[in-house]
């Protein structure tokens, strides 16, 4: 029921079975994707409605999910179903001329086939319209409840086949919502599918929640809660809801970040003088290692992809800038950001020599990418109060928090800044998105 892999000191052994209380999977305001800009170079593609070969109504619209995923990537432009001159579901039925005349470059066809009680097979094929060749063909089994996820998996496979880049449609996002008037707000930690569907509340509190961080296996979230009138770090198992309090010393306990091997948390604590420093905590042994010792604010640690370095924000130079230090605390911190007077909250690209930061761009707080190889800073977003960048596991896209009017909403931007989208919600402030790792099973 609870985590057996993590053994804690007695005073911190908070193994609590709180599943019933916290895993309220009641209806939550869904996020809705709005394509904002950057789709003009998208590849025209036809995702033909999949044929349902069973009796009665189809149990799920697989092709609608696949088309929405491909559209959301910004790299594809699925044509509307009503423009299709035919709706083939087998290779034999395809008339390539009908698609060439529409300027469609790729076509996806498929069938949803019953395979026993509440069991199905999604069979699909992808064709290059101009060469008339099959690019991909696959049969994906699924239970009834798994059809949405299986559909995202189909979209992942198509995306990877056509772009050479791993798809992230099967991933999830964690985020914080805040509703209510100042002084009487409800804070929620929510996990949803990457397209905003299936949102469920993990934690609900009258006190602030912040800084959700995914474990590398995608099964746990670390986060900060003020429920005991002080910032404390918790780790919660997504399936069981069991959680542990892993850092709750007097003063600040905050900014958790998992090491790539999942064994350690980088975190921030304040000393008796209230000064913030970066530490690592080995979860199995509770061994705490202090990495910074300055009288500056040192916070927001992030691990390099190889786990050897920890990047962090420090105002030791007089304004917040990004530094890196060896994860074992040896050596001196090296400054990585040099453009502008405010660079904070680094996140490391999983695939490139690039970090994303919150950057003050002429008075506006925006997400910027710093190319560590060439040393230049590129501003990726155009908001006023953008913050909390988080990379998709394929490194192609960042999700971040921005403002729409007076409300906090989430948005995504491609790592090159060209494709931007907004995820609106119906009510409350949405903030601090964290993109999950790739699902491995």
């Amino acid at each position: 029921m609870y985590f057996k892999s993590i053994v804690l000191g007695k005073s911190l052994a908070w193994l609590v079975l709180a599943a019933g209380y916290f895993l309220a999977s009641s209806a939550v305001a869904q996020l809705r994707i709005e394509i904002s800009e950057g789709t003009e170079q998208a590849v025209p593609i036809a995702v033909v409605p999949f044929a349902w070969t069973g009796s009665g109504a189809a149990p799920f619209d697989v092709s609608a999910v696949v088309a929405a995923d491909l559209q959301r990537s910004g790299r594809f432009s699925p044509i509307p179903t009503r423009d299709m001159l035919q709706q083939p579901s087998t290779a034999r039925e395809i008339d390539l001329d009908d698609w060439r005349i529409l300027g469609v470059e790729k076509i996806v066809i498929g069938q949803l086939i019953p395979a026993g009680a509440d069991e199905y097979t999604i069979q699909f094929q992808v064709f290059d319209v101009f060469r008339g060749e099959q690019l991909l063909g696959y049969r994906q089994p699924s239970s009834r409840l798994g059809l949405r996820r299986a559909s995202h998996r189909v979209a992942d496979m198509i995306y990877e086949e056509l772009t050479g880049i791993e798809g992230v449609f099967s991933t999830r996002i964690a985020y914080i919502t805040v509703a209510g008037a100042a002084g009487n707000q409800t804070h929620r930690l929510i996990v949803a599918d990457a397209d905003g569907e299936n949102a469920r509340v993990l934690v609900s509190s009258g006190q602030p929640l912040l800084s959700p961080a995914w474990s590398p296996d995608g099964r746990r979230l670390a986060y900060v809660s003020f429920e005991n009138q002080n910032s404390e770090i918790f780790i919660q198992d997504l399936r069981s809801g069991a959680r542990q309090r892993v850092s709750a010393r007097p003063g600040i306990n905050s900014a958790p970040a998992w090491s790539p091997d999942g064994r350690r948390l980088a975190l921030v604590r304040s000393g008796g003088d209230g000064n913030l420093d970066v530490y690592t905590l080995e979860l199995a042994t509770q061994v705490l290692t202090r990495l910074t010792r300055r009288g500056s604010i040192d916070t927001e640690p992030a691990w390099s992809a190889d786990g050897k370095r920890i990047l962090f924000t420090s105002d030791r130079s007089g304004s917040p800038q990004i530094y890196a230090i060896a994860a074992d605390g040896s050596g001196r911190p090296k400054r990585l950001s040099f453009e502008g007077n405010y660079n904070a909250r680094p996140r490391v690209s999983p695939t490139a020599e690039q970090i994303a930061v919150v950057h003050n761009d002429r008075g506006n707080y925006r997400i910027a990418a710093i190319d560590l190889g060439r040393g230049f800073t590129q501003v990726l977003t155009d908001g006023v109060l953008d913050e909390s960048p988080s990379f998709a596991p394929n490194g192609e896209t960042l999700i971040y928090a921005t403002r729409q009017g007076n409300r906090g909403v989430l948005a995504t931007v491609s790592a090159d800044g060209r494709i931007r989208q907004r995820l609106s919600s119906l009510d409350g402030d949405v903030r601090e998105p964290a993109w999950s790792p790739q699902r491995r099973n």
């Binding site: 009138q229 910032s231 007097p250 209230g274």
Partner: protein, 183 residues
Amino acid sequence: MKRIESVAIALVLVVLAGCGGQSGTAQQDDPDLFGEYGGGEQGGADTTGASDDEFREGSAFGDGAPMGGPGAAADNRIIYFEFDQSDVDSDYADVLRAHGSYLAANAGARLRLEGHADERGSREYNLGLGERRAQAVKQVLLLQGASAGQLSTVSYGEERPASIGSDESTWGLNRRVELVYQR
């Protein structure tokens, strides 16, 4: 110049941390952890800009309500700060002297200093800024006669705004330290 001040404050803090010991606010062993969910804040932590306005109407300066201690007007239990600054403005000298005197005269009194930041910039960094502000107020109170054991600090960063909005006046109301006497 600001750096030099900060370093000086930090040095004072290191010395004081050594003799002050731990404050009594840790609740690590509270078994009723989950009972806290959805519960309200204790004391006056939910002070908002609205109640601030109410007090402005009625409290004559130096007359009636005391300037320091738990009976002080709401105006005199909030210290505001400049953008990205943690220096306590000299305008607050009288108010903090009054609180310091109250604490010195009432050894059993406990004061929680709640530091806050405005919404600009990153959240975790703002948590650091709020803590730095709470510590700056703590230092002044220690110089005014309070003892370290009477004072605790917490930072909420930008997570508990007193006022919601994205303009200079709102930001100014949110960059603050609230003095919350514990019952």
